[in-house]
Amino acid sequence: MWKWLHPYANPEITYHFTGKLTPWFTWLSIILLAIGLTWALLFAPADYQQGESFRIFYIHVPAAILSMSIYVGMAIAAFSGLVWQLKLADASAAALAPVGAVFTAIALITGAAWGKPMWGTWWIWDARLTSELILLFLYLGVIALHNAFEDKALAGKAAGILAIVGVINIPIIKYSVEWWNTLHQGATVSKFGKPAMSADMYWPFLFCFFGFAFFVAAVTCLRFKTEILSRNSMRPWVKALVKEEIK
């Protein structure tokens, strides 16, 4: 397996490989999101309790799931970057952080907009919303730390360490917030638990979820390419490539 993976430690090969993947991800994302969102907005049935406001679910839940998985993905990338000294892994972690932050923000905003009609208030210190907010802080910390360094290779390493520390903390934070939440407000929120989904709700959800997932992949590929270029700006292949693109 290592032999097979080895060429991808070369920035040039990875750059071109990523470049080949990007259009696939982009088109898959556009198609899946077009189908999924149309289905979700027009054809999916309204929830019997929450009515049409349930349509927010098709953005909120994929965004929330992705926001957490991106953080874990970022931490795994950072960890492999730290252990095996892979510069490209650091670059991919740096590419993932802003994408994750945006999805966390979307999950928060849609959560608030969903909460207003359901709970009667924009914000509620619900365990899931609170841990999502803290996740946003963690993302912003990683991004801020990354921006604070002039040297991008150092920035990647420092932000990577923070991402790993954060990922160790996430379960603790999540657990503590959940525990804090049950302590302070009892079971008032539980009626807003997972609704039993029927098949005609499940399919549009899957389309939306994978549409957003491929969106993440496409944007990450683009940002990853940018990171590779900016970290290898003195290499001949980068110079040739830039010369060709900017005439």
């Binding site: 912003l140 910390g141 730390l145 604070a148 360094f149 923070l162 520390v165 503590s176 804090w180």
Partner: protein
């Protein structure tokens, strides 16, 4: 080995601890300023919220703990900054003992200088805030186990930002979210104690956080220092 006498791990640890404590005792304002900050922040709350004893005693644990978080955060800067500025940090990283030992000594010295005084002054502030009488024990215990956790986690943030010129605000942005579990369990232990219920569960969790950060944080700090001094 040649005749050079390499100190054992314990000797290196004690040497580092003694050095940091001596330096801190020479700059007394390093000890007193965060303490003063802690006291002032706590006195601001009754002025902002109103002097009713019932309200104050309800929010006292939160105020004291949040103020302790902020005071620790304020004092964190001096953990590595001076040593980084005059280059002695890089020298320390060259000594044959693992960096883990040095880092551990520095963090413990930092806690002795800034964390311990907070614990002594906290009961006085608790009186000002009309903290429930049953809660004093819990307040002391949570501060005793909790503030080292703050120093350990904070050290990671300082180590990451020590090379950056405007690291102060960034440091709080990085470190404060990581402090949340300590805050939650500590205040809840104090609240539980006020209701005369056993709070050993919360204390046990803070203890777990303490040992986790005690064992893991120095590794993260060492890795971060290697990045920062690059």
């Amino acid at each position: 080995m040649m005749s050079i006498n390499i100190p054992s791990y314990r000797q290196a640890f004690m040497l580092m601890l003694k050095r940091d404590l001596t330096i801190a005792l020479r700059h007394k304002d390093d000890i007193f300023n965060p303490l003063l900050f802690f006291i002032i922040v706590v006195t601001l709350f009754p002025l902002g919220i109103g002097p009713e004893a019932s309200t104050l005693s309800r929010i006292a644990p939160g105020i004291i703990w949040v103020a302790a978080l902020l005071a620790t955060l304020l004092s964190l800067d001096r953990l590595f900054k001076a040593d980084f500025a005059d280059g002695s940090l890089e020298q320390m990283m060259l000594i044959p003992q693992p960096l883990f030992i040095i880092v551990l000594a520095k963090i413990i010295a930092h806690w002795l200088i800034t964390g311990l005084p907070l614990i002594f002054i906290a009961p006085v502030l608790a009186v000002l805030l009309h903290l429930n009488e049953n809660s004093y024990g819990a307040l002391m215990i949570t501060l005793l186990i909790g503030t080292p956790v703050l120093s350990f986690i904070g050290a990671i943030g300082v180590a990451l930002t020590v090379g950056i010129k405007k690291g102060g605000v960034l440091l709080s942005l990085i470190v404060l979210p990581l402090y949340i579990p300590v805050l939650i369990f500590a205040t809840s232990a104090i609240d539980t104690a006020a209701m005369n219920l056993p709070y050993s569960g919360q204390v046990a969790i803070i203890g777990a956080l303490f040992f986790t950060s005690f064992t893991l944080a120095p590794f993260a700090v060492s890795a971060a220092l290697k990045v920062s001094t690059n």
